[in-house]
């Protein structure tokens, strides 16, 4: 025990090696065994969610937890680089301000209430169905219209293509919603 202690005492190492206490002799065990935090983590190939440049990202994760996100050096577009927003993707996913629960506000209420996810889905389906029922126009002058203008959708430029596809498919082809829009223009 004592022996060990003495063996690890940098001062003795110093004396042995005649060094000035600024080099390896002064390093702690922790320092000697230092590793990058994503050592032995898995990696997912990803794409930056911010602007339209489309930088490659590497998302390191371990046991279902995100470890870090950095640029993918293999990307022919970004060559591993990221801008401040892209570089901040890890915080985007993990920051404390992020909402993790469904929130519900009744008409005229002054506060949010919590709501179970499945219940919320049922309620939204109800509202949607009712509004559609009441506002759907099948035809005009004997020609098909098959639309409702009373329900709108906004958003898409930050979503995946597959998600946009489902939006267009369900809302337009399925429900006859025409008020569909997103950030994109030209």
């Amino acid at each position: 025990m004592i022996k060990e202690l003495l063996a690890n005492w940098p001062l003795l190492k110093q004396i042995k090696t005649g060094t000035d206490g600024t080099g390896p002799e002064a390093m702690s065990e922790q320092t000697r065994s230092l590793k990058p935090k994503f050592a032995d983590a898995q990696v997912a190939r990803s794409v930056c969610p911010y602007c339209g440049v489309g930088c490659g990202q590497l998302a390191f994760h371990k046991d279902g937890k995100l470890i870090s996100i950095e640029g993918d050096p293999e990307s022919p577009i970004s060559r591993g680089h990221l801008c401040p927003k892209g570089a901040n993707s890890f915080e985007l996913v993990t920051h404390p301000g992020r909402e993790l629960k469904v929130k519900y506000r009744r008409p005229r209420s002054r506060q949010w209430e919590s709501l179970d996810l499945e219940t919320a889905m049922d309620m939204v389906a109800e509202r949607l169905w009712k509004s559609r029922e009441q506002t759907f126009v099948e035809s005009k002058d004997g020609r098909p219209v098959m639309q409702t203008k009373a329900i709108g959708h906004l958003g898409g430029a930050t979503l995946d293509n597959e998600e946009n596809y489902l939006i267009k498919k369900l809302f337009t082809a399925g429900l006859g919603m025409v008020c569909i829009s997103n950030q994109a223009r030209i």
Binding site: W9, P10, L11, D20, G21
Partner: protein
């Protein structure tokens, strides 16, 4: 950026010019603008909105180049205590050798021992992570005054205390043994004491803070004398007003401090500004006055005063030296802060 830091920065903005000045400058700017379609930012500074600029004159938006010292109040107090204790240890040793009154020796040893115990306590409580004080003993770095200092402090403690205990016991049980322990421990304590009284000057002198490193050659002496003054004063106040030796010491210390005071006051280097201007200047000057000229005058006066009178005057001189020594340490640390705040690249030629 932290609000506080920002406020500090904004405080140093120039005062707003008078209205006529501004109006006049406005016209100038309008003309210039109409003519060249461009106006230098400084034009607006005059319009009453100092646009902070990055330039050779101001450095980077006038922001300090150096970081301020981050020591808490314990450090200046430690400088004071350590200095006094160190000196006291020396006094005790010579007093004993010269066979002075046992009370004087005893009290000197007490001051040294108490200081020796107080010092590490103050140091530890200043640390961000006190539990790691022992890390100070992981290595020994000659090139680091703090490393050296730490070993001095550690070495100073035990012998000083031992010497005191031995001294006290001697009163009750006579014996050659104890005497030997005391004198040898005392000697060692005194040697460390010399370090204690001086190394703190090196400690702050060997840093990047201009006002400190510009005075590296006088600082240790300054601190040594300041410590001597404080140590002497402390012992005297324990009822040794009449000790001629101590009075002589007091005289020497205050005389020396006065000389150093004069030297600092005369030094032209802009880096010394914090020792003269602002709060830090006020404190250092007050400290200088209270350890230098004032006690000097008093002690001289005491020499010509009647017995009862002179005793009082000596007490005053001693009290003044104690307070002065403390103020000196506080002042110098404060000056370090100011010096860092003013350290943008163009503040002085040093950069």
């Amino acid at each position: 950026m932290k609000d506080s830091a920002l406020r500090e920065q904004l405080r140093s903005e120039p005062a707003e010019p008078s209205l006529p000045q501004r109006v006049h400058r406005l016209e100038e700017i309008r003309r210039e603008a109409a003519h060249t379609g461009r106006v230098e930012g400084v034009g607006v500074r005059l319009a009453g909105a100092p646009i902070p600029v990055a330039s050779v004159e101001t450095g980077y938006y006038g922001l300090p180049l150096l970081k301020e010292p981050q020591w808490s109040w314990e450090i200046p107090v430690y400088f004071f205590v350590g200095g006094a204790a160190g000196a006291a240890a020396v006094i005790a040793e010579f007093a004993q050798m010269s066979g002075a009154q046992t009370e004087l020796v005893r009290d000197a040893r007490t001051v040294a021992a108490v200081g020796a115990l107080l010092s590490p306590a103050l140091l530890v409580s200043d640390l961000g992570v006190p539990s790691r004080f022992l890390n100070m003993l992981r290595v020994f770095k000659v090139q680091s005054p703090m490393s050296v200092g730490v070993y001095i402090v550690s070495a100073f403690g035990p012998p000083s205390v031992l010497a005191m205990i031995a001294n006290r016991l001697r009163g009750r049980m006579p014996g050659m043994m104890l005497k030997m322990i005391e004198s040898s421990a005392g000697l060692f304590s005194a040697l460390c004491g010399l370090g204690m009284a001086t190394y703190t000057g090196v400690l702050i002198g060997a840093t990047a803070i201009p006002v400190w490193n510009k005075n590296i050659d006088s600082l240790p002496i300054h601190f040594a004398l300041s410590g001597l003054a404080a140590g002497t004063a402390a012992i005297q106040l324990m009822g040794h007003e009449e000790s001629r030796a101590l009075n002589l010491l007091g005289l020497v210390a205050s005389a020396g401090e006065s000389l150093i005071g004069v030297k600092l006051e005369k030094a032209p280097s802009p880096a010394n500004a914090p020792l003269k201007k602002g709060t830090s200047g006020l404190i250092t000057r007050a400290g200088g006055l209270l350890t230098g000229p004032l006690p000097l005058a008093l002690r001289i006066a005491a020499a010509f005063a009647g017995e009862r009178r002179s005793k009082q005057i000596i007490r005053m001189a001693a009290a003044s030296s104690l307070a002065g020594s403390l103020l000196t340490r506080v002042g110098w640390v404060r000056a370090g802060h100011r010096s860092a705040q003013q350290s943008n690249t163009a503040a002085s030629r040093e950069f």
